[in-house]
């Protein structure tokens, strides 16, 4: 199934700049990145489960606790790399974004309908790639364990990525469980770059996969929390993934 982290992380984890400096550990004490990633893939259900192709409908909530903002979150993923994310917040309206397999797009009340380009599109395209579920080496020019770190009291191995597009990111995998517990990134947008730290927790079993249900994302001094309540597999129709009319207009006009 194509659930992996793609559906849960889209909108939550953009890609990344290198993390805060990890603790100094001599290189010979660090496990190879391949080993850390293999253990992670096993921890979430194994390579076959992670790479299964099946659509998924993820439903949950989105909140910005300090602002008193709470809304509904829906993430749809298709079998061919499509994504559709919707967050609805009272007083703010609906914020939607997605990827058709070729085109990345976004519609929200503050920036209007737009097609993504540049680094923003690179990030969406690369995250939508099935192979990301298992951190396939073909997606990166470099994957290196750079040290150990700690999030919420849990020690983890920090793995740094340089993507084929040139972007950089890092992820931290629990020493104890092998699960991904945090990532750091830089999200690109027309408004500029935002450094993001995302912490994943509360893993639960969905189908064949063991996935985080809470993602706390810190950016620009504010925290956003995404909580997953349910995941259904194989219930997403192609029409569910179709971009809004305004986006189709832009696509059909050539952007």
């Amino acid at each position: 199934m194509k659930m992996s982290f793609r559906s849960l992380r889209h909108g939550a984890v953009a890609l990344t700049a290198l993390a805060a400096l990890p603790a100094v550990v001599s290189a010979q004490d660090l496990p190879p990145a391949e080993e850390v990633i293999d253990r992670y893939v096993e921890a979430i259900g194994g390579r076959d489960a992670a790479l299964q192709s099946m659509s998924a409908r993820t439903v949950g909530s989105f909140s910005m606790p300090a602002m008193g903002v709470t809304g509904d979150l829906t993430v749809l993923t298709g079998e061919d790399g499509q994504m559709y994310t919707s967050v609805t917040i009272p007083g703010m309206g609906e914020m939607r974004s997605g990827y058709t397999g070729e085109v990345g797009w976004s519609v929200d009340p503050l920036t209007g309908p737009r097609l993504l380009d540049g680094a923003e599109l690179d990030a969406m395209r690369e995250q939508a790639d099935d192979r990301y579920a298992v951190r396939d080496p073909a997606l990166f020019t470099s994957v290196t364990t750079v040290g150990e770190n700690e999030y919420d009291g849990e020690a983890c191995w920090e793995v740094a990525y340089v993507w084929v597009s040139g972007r950089e990111s890092s992820e931290c995998f629990s020493k104890e469980t092998g699960l991904l517990i945090a990532s750091t990134s830089t999200q690109e947008s027309p408004m500029g770059s935002v450094d993001v730290v995302t912490r994943m927790s509360d893993y639960q079993q969905f189908g064949d996969l063991f996935l985080p249900t809470t993602m706390r994302q810190s950016a620009m001094g504010q925290e956003q929390v995404m909580t997953i309540e349910s995941v259904e597999f194989g219930t997403v129709d192609a029409s569910d993934l179709e971009p809004p009319a305004a986006i189709l207009t832009l696509i059909n006009s050539g952007g």
């Binding site: 909108g11 953009a14 910005m64 300090a66 602002m67 008193g68 903002v69 994310t85 967050v87 609805t88 917040i89 009272p90 007083g91 703010m92 309206g93 914020m95 974004s97 976004s106 929200d108 009340p109 503050l110 920036t111 209007g112 309908p113 737009r114 999200q187 947008s189 027309p190 408004m191 500029g192 770059s193 935002v194 450094d195 993001v196 994302q217 950016a219 620009m220 001094g221 504010q222 956003q224 009319a245 305004a246 207009t249 832009l250 006009s253």
Partner: protein
Amino acid sequence: MLAATTLLAGCGGAVSAPADAPTPSGTSSETSRPISTELALQTFDSAWSRINASYYDPDFRGIDWPGIRDELRPRAAEVSTREELRTVLRDMLSRLGESHFAILPEESVRAISIDDDGVEDLGDAGPGDVGLDLRWVDGRLMVFKVREGPAGDAGVSAGWTVAAVGEQSTGRWEEIVADADSERARITAETQTVQGAISLMTGPVGSEVPMTLVDGEGDTVSVSLPRQPVRGQMVRFGQLPAMASWLEWERIPAPGQPGACVGVIEFNIWMVPLVAPFNQAVDALDDCMGIVIDLRGNPGGVGGMVMSTAGSFFAERADLGTLKSRAGELNFVAMPRGVDTEGALRDAFDGRLAVLIDEMSMSTSEIFAAGLKSTGRARLFGSTTPGYALPAATLPLPSGDVLYHVISNLTDPEGRRIEGSGVAPDVEVGVRREALLSGVDEALDAAIVWAAGGGGR
């Protein structure tokens, strides 16, 4: 989406006055609920710590922030009521000397019934007002506009001076304005006293506001105006108080241009549910020679809204201002709106664009005006704004109140700070009593003439 939600950090108009504003007394409905010393100190420490961690300048512009804690925390330990604690907290906030710091009482931020659009039906529990806009003209507080409502029904007209609102004589406010020792101080005093008058005119629906006015003939007129529900929908966003929001637009004949039109769009606050009506208005006015956006009296709102709103008037992205926090920088960017409200491709409106501002145009209104002025896309008419423009966020406090606090500095596209300096119009058009009494809005008229092709580009 992340950046967009980050930019939700509001520029809340309704709470934008500095804590040391010379506001009138008697506006609080808060009763003296008791508070324990432990809870008072928890609340004080929470507010101080949040600002300590998030204020955009880690050096606090040279202000001794730890020293302020050391001075005021003992006072917080001695309070016995929530209102007394608020006084201490507001004293703390005032030491920073900037807008967008406030303590929002628990009862003002508690949603009652809110729908998915953020619209709250408060029914009779909602606020009421009397339908008057006030401004200072030649040192006197004056009726600037009479909107549909009790004041108009009672025969009150623009150009009448205000002698008293309730038991509050305007004489003391006149002294404050007269004593201002600089142009900036005068604008600040005028802005804050108008806010004070507005707060006195606002209250429970059905209650009455005694007012003493002087008409155009110099005769004193005493009226008692029943407050009616405020105009527009009550919209709530996050922990900010519910705020009335409305937008209206009209197409008027372009002066000296037979068959041509100028559009005028006015809205009272920057709340996201107004994005769609704004876009619809622009689309409907697309054939006009020019558009005038009237932001006089608009106190701000959600800062990020400037991006989509300005986007109607730009073919390419354009920088409207920069937010700088400890965590980094983001830009307000005009996002060209390539699709109209019917879903068809649209070109940016390329006619003339005028923006009306005055001393009651604050926060997001100032960001919008400054951005369009800096880019050369709009010509500003009216008078200088007060300079209350800092992005802010909220934090629920242990007491139940909400801390509203600055999180970023903000500069216009030319690197100028709007906070404390305001936005000056390209064309200064002051308010004259004679014009008001004769029903003429001179700033609006000047903007319309220019938007219709008059004057220089």
